[in-house]
C-alpha cells in the first residue's frame, strides 16, 4: 500500500481511533459513533490493505477477567504513515479523536 493512499473520512477516522488506543471494534464504534455495519467491514479492509493488523488477546487474561478474549487491532508502519497523510487531508481528525492512549493493551 502506498503511503500516499487516500482514505475516506470514515476509514481515516477509524484509523485515528485505533491509533488513539481504541483497539477493538466496539470501542471504535463508541468513539466514532459509527454503526457496527460500518466499523467492522472498514477494519477488515484496513487490515487487508495492511494498514492495521490484529491479534487475539491471551486466553489466560480473558479468563482472569471472566470474559471472552478480544481481538485487538494495531496500526502498522504503513498505517501510521497513511494516517499522517490523512491528518493533513482531514485537519479536524485529530480534534475529533485525540491521540492519547485511553487503554493499555
Amino acid at each position: 500500500m502506498a503511503t500516499e493512499a487516500k482514505l475516506s473520512h470514515t476509514a481515516a477516522m477509524i484509523l485515528q481511533a485505533v491509533n488513539a488506543g481504541y483497539v477493538y471494534g466496539f470501542s471504535v464504534m463508541e468513539m466514532t459513533g459509527l454503526p457496527s455495519g460500518t466499523v467492522y467491514p472498514a477494519m477488515r479492509r484496513l487490515e487487508r490493505d495492511e494498514l492495521i493488523r490484529s491479534h487475539w488477546e491471551q486466553q489466560s487474561i480473558a479468563d482472569a477477567e471472566q470474559r471472552p478474549p478480544r481481538k485487538y487491532y494495531k496500526l502498522t508502519r504503513t498505517g501510521k504513515m497513511t494516517l499522517e497523510s490523512s491528518r493533513k487531508r482531514y485537519p479536524l481528525l485529530a480534534k475529533l479523536i485525540p491521540s492519547e492512549q485511553v487503554e493499555s493493551v
Binding site: G25, F26, S36, G37, R44
Partner: protein, 504 residues
C-alpha cells in the same frame, strides 16, 4: 421488565449472528464468529444494565447484531473476487458440456427426421386408459395371434356381465382399397367394432364434425402413413367415399402415428356400426373392466373361464393393456435404473482420491465440481433416451416387440458406458479448475514396484496440482492421489490466470 426475558434476547442475538455467519466464506467463518460473539458479550455488558432488561439496551444490542450482516456480506464479496476461473484450454468443463449438448441436439435432430422415431416421441402424449384388458385364448402364448371369434364377442355382449362393461373387437384383413385417384392399393384393414377408438381413447385428426350424409356406411380411419402416401396429406380427406373391398366406406379421419399399440400392423380401421357385420373368423378383443371389478385390484395378467358359443367352457387369458403396452419412457427408466445398479461392478465409484490431502477445497469449489458431474449425468440421460429411440425406431418395418428390445438393450448399454465415462472423465480433471489433466508422464519402473511407486503422473495446466495414478495398485498406494501445488509454482504454468490461492 423481568429477567425471564433476558435469555430470550441473548438467544435471539446469537441466532442473528449465527445466521449472518452462514454468509461468511468457510475459511473465515470460525474466526469471524469468535470475534463477533466476543464483541457481543462486551456490547451487552455495556448496553444492558445488570439485573434487568431494558428495551433501549436491547435495541442497541440488536442494531449491533444486524451490522454483522453487512460485515458478512463484505467478506463474502471479497472472497468472490478471488474465485478461481474455470480452465479455458482444450478439455475444459465448458467444452465438455458443449460437446454433450451438441450430441443431444444431433440425436434430437435425427429423431425428428426419422418418421418412426418422431411418431414414438409424439405418442408419449397418449396414455392408455386404465381398466382396459386384452382377452385372448389361454391356449396361445403369443398375443400377436388372433384367437377370439366374432361369435364369441357377440355372445359376451349379449350376456349380462359382472366383470366387463364394454367390448371392442377387431380383425385384420388384407383388402384392396380404391382411393379417390382411382388407384387400387392393398391395405391391412382392421375391421373393428365402432367403439374401438372410443374405448381406447385414441385421437382422430381431421375428423369431420358432420358426416351424417353417409351414416349408413362404415367409417374408415386412415393411418398417418397411408394418409400421407395415398391421400397426399389432404387435410380435407374426411367425408371422402372410398371402396374397401366390395363395400363403400366414408373416410372419417386420420389416426396419428405411434398411437396404435395393439397387436397387428394396421393401415386403416374400418369401423362397423355393428359387430355382427364382422364376418366370422378370429380377431382381437379389448374389454373394459367394470368399476367394481377394477377395484378388486387384480394382477396384470389373470385367467378366466367362460362359456364358448358351442356351450363348452374355455380358458381365456386377460392381460392389462397398460402392462402390455409398456411405453418407451418406461423402458428407458428401467434401463437407467439397471445401469445405475450395474455401474459399481464396472468401475470404481468414489471420486475421493483427494481425501489423503491435508488441504480442503472451499465449499464453492467443491459445489462447482459436483455440479459439473451432475450436469454431465443430466445431459447424458436425454442422449441415452434419444439415441436409443433412434436405434429402435429408425426402421419402421420392425414390429413393436423388436423395437422395444432394441431400445432396452441400447438404453442400458449407452447409459452404462455413459456413466462410466462421466466418472472417469471426472477423475481425470483438476478438482479446482475442472480442466482436463495433461502431460502424462511415466514415473518409476515396474520392477521396483515394491520399493518405489510406479505409475503415471498427470498435471493441471493451471498449476493447481498433480495426479498420481498407480500402475499396479498396492496396499499402500491403491487409488490415484491428487497433490496440490502451492502458489509458488504459478510462474511455471502457462494458464497463470487460473492460478489463485483462493480455492482453499
Amino acid at each position: 421488565m423481568t429477567l425471564q426475558f433476558a435469555p430470550v434476547f441473548r438467544g435471539g442475538n446469537l441466532g442473528l449472528l449465527r445466521l449472518a455467519s452462514l454468509l461468511v466464506p468457510g475459511q473465515h467463518r470460525e474466526e469471524w464468529w469468535r470475534e463477533w460473539r466476543s464483541e457481543l458479550w462486551h456490547v451487552r455488558q455495556a448496553c444492558t444494565p445488570q439485573g434487568s432488561v431494558s428495551w433501549k439496551g436491547e435495541r442497541e444490542v440488536t442494531a449491533f447484531c444486524l451490522g454483522a450482516f453487512q460485515d458478512a456480506f463484505c467478506l463474502r464479496r471479497e472472497a468472490g473476487q478471488k474465485k478461481v476461473p474455470l480452465a479455458t484450454t482444450k478439455g475444459s468443463a465448458a467444452q465438455c458440456m458443449f460437446f454433450l449438448v451438441t450430441i443431444t441436439a444431433v440425436s434430437y435432430g435425427i429423431a425428428l427426421l426419422c418418421p418412426g422415431v418422431r411418431a414414438e416421441i409424439l405418442s408419449l402424449r397418449y396414455r392408455v386408459p386404465q381398466n382396459l384388458t386384452m382377452i385372448q385364448s389361454a391356449r396361445y402364448s403369443q398375443d400377436s395371434v388372433p384367437t377370439i371369434s366374432a361369435e364369441q364377442v357377440r355372445m359376451w355382449r349379449g350376456r349380462k356381465q359382472q366383470i366387463f362393461d364394454g367390448f371392442a373387437f377387431y380383425q385384420i384383413v388384407q383388402k384392396p382399397v380404391l382411393t379417390g385417384s382411382q388407384e387400387q392399393v392393398a391395405l391391412r384393414v382392421a375391421r373393428a367394432s365402432s367403439n374401438l377408438f372410443e374405448l381406447l381413447s385414441l385421437p382422430v385428426r381431421f375428423a369431420s364434425p358432420g358426416g351424417e350424409a353417409h351414416d349408413d356406411m362404415p367409417k374408415l380411419i386412415l393411418s398417418d402413413a397411408v394418409w400421407k402416401r395415398e391421400f397426399g396429406e389432404d387435410p380435407l380427406v374426411s367425408g371422402r367415399v372410398v371402396q374397401v373391398g366390395l363395400r363403400r366406406a366414408v373416410v372419417s379421419g386420420v389416426a396419428p402415428a405411434g398411437y396404435w399399440r395393439l397387436p397387428g400392423k394396421v393401415d386403416a380401421w374400418l369401423l362397423e356400426p355393428d359387430v355382427d357385420a364382422v364376418s366370422d373368423g378370429a380377431g382381437f378383443v379389448v374389454a373394459h373392466l367394470t368399476p367394481s371389478a377394477a377395484q378388486e385390484r387384480w394382477s396384470e395378467r389373470w385367467r378366466m373361464s367362460a362359456p364358448t358359443p358351442d356351450g363348452t367352457p374355455d380358458d381365456f387369458l386377460c392381460v392389462s393393456l397398460a402392462e402390455r403396452t409398456r411405453e418407451s419412457w418406461d423402458l428407458f427408466l428401467f434401463a437407467v435404473i439397471l445401469a445405475f445398479l450395474s455401474l459399481p461392478a464396472t468401475t470404481s465409484l468414489p471420486l475421493g482420491e483427494y481425501r489423503l490431502s491435508s488441504r480442503r477445497l472451499s465449499w464453492s469449489t467443491r459445489l462447482r465440481r459436483w455440479t459439473f458431474l451432475g450436469g454431465k449425468i443430466a445431459l447424458l440421460l436425454p442422449i441415452v433416451y434419444l439415441v436409443s429411440l433412434d436405434l429402435a425406431y429408425m426402421r419402421t418395418t420392425l414390429d413393436t416387440p423388436s423395437s422395444q428390445y432394441i431400445q432396452l438393450v441400447s438404453s442400458f448399454s449407452i447409459c452404462l458406458f455413459g456413466l462410466r465415462w462421466a466418472l472417469r472423465d471426472q477423475r481425470q480433471r483438476c478438482p479446482v479448475c475442472l480442466g482436463k489433466l495433461t502431460h502424462p508422464a511415466r514415473v518409476g519402473q515396474p520392477s521396483r514396484n515394491f520399493l518405489a511407486w510406479n505409475g503415471t503422473e498427470l498435471i493441471c495446466v493451471g498449476g493447481h496440482g498433480l495426479l498420481h495414478v498407480p500402475e499396479i495398485p498396492t496396499s499402500w498406494f491403491s487409488t490415484q492421489r491428487w497433490m496440490y501445488l502451492d502458489p509458488s509454482w504459478e510462474i511455471l504454468f502457462p494458464e497463470s490466470g487460473l492460478v489463485s490461492t483462493g480455492y482453499f
